[in-house]
């Protein structure tokens, strides 16, 4: 097993742990906002680590750049949409 495989495994395993943390937060946290917090923070980090772990496995620069682009788009999208969700939830709380 090469050093790059070990790096991949370590990063991907760490990513999986962050996904686990996100799910635990989702199950255990009491309200919408804390759950949103658990979800967006840990899952984006989890995906980032998975992408980082997969980078040594790709065989072209373009494929690597696309992997990073996937993460950046997800980061941008989920940062924006989680704000929108939180705002919608807050509006509902205020109305109720």
């Amino acid at each position: 097993m090469s050093a790059r495989d070990i790096f991949s495994m370590a990063a991907i395993a760490a990513g999986a742990i962050f996904f686990l943390a996100g799910t635990v937060g989702l199950l255990r946290f009491p309200d919408t906002f804390t759950r949103l917090h658990a979800l967006t923070k840990s899952d984006n980090l989890g995906l980032g680590l998975v992408v980082m772990g997969l980078l040594p496995q790709v065989d072209s620069v373009l494929a690597g750049l696309k992997l990073i682009a996937v993460w950046l788009i997800v980061l941008l999208g989920s940062a924006g949409t989680s704000q929108l969700i939180a705002r919608a939830a807050r509006k509902r709380d205020l109305d109720a």
Partner: protein, 95 residues
């Protein structure tokens, strides 16, 4: 390595599944919208791991599409489920 990637994909998929089941039950729309968000991230991670395990390079393109469309779908959902937004019923005032 292949076995490890399959294993990691399975673990992430199970995490997503457990989270999904929790969220789909609600109670509010916001919790359900998080399900789409969770799937955007977790589903893409599973997809990338699966693609690397099977050795299909173009799976990254699928992940790119999924990332963009998941953001689009979440935005559409948020817009639809906020009833007080002015786009709901008012006919347009054209200048």
């Amino acid at each position: 390595m292949t076995e490890f990637l399959f294993g990691a994909a399975t673990v992430v998929l199970i995490m997503v599944a457990v989270g999904l089941m929790r969220i789909l039950r609600g109670p509010g729309d916001a919790d359900r919208l998080m399900a789409v968000n969770l799937l955007g991230t977790g589903g893409i991670a599973t997809l990338l791991l699966l693609g690397a395990a099977v050795g299909i390079d173009s799976v990254v393109d699928v992940a790119l599409t999924l990332a963009l469309l998941a953001a689009f779908a979440t935005i559409a959902f948020v817009k639809a489920s906020t009833p007080s937004s002015p786009d709901d019923s008012k006919p347009e005032q054209q200048p």
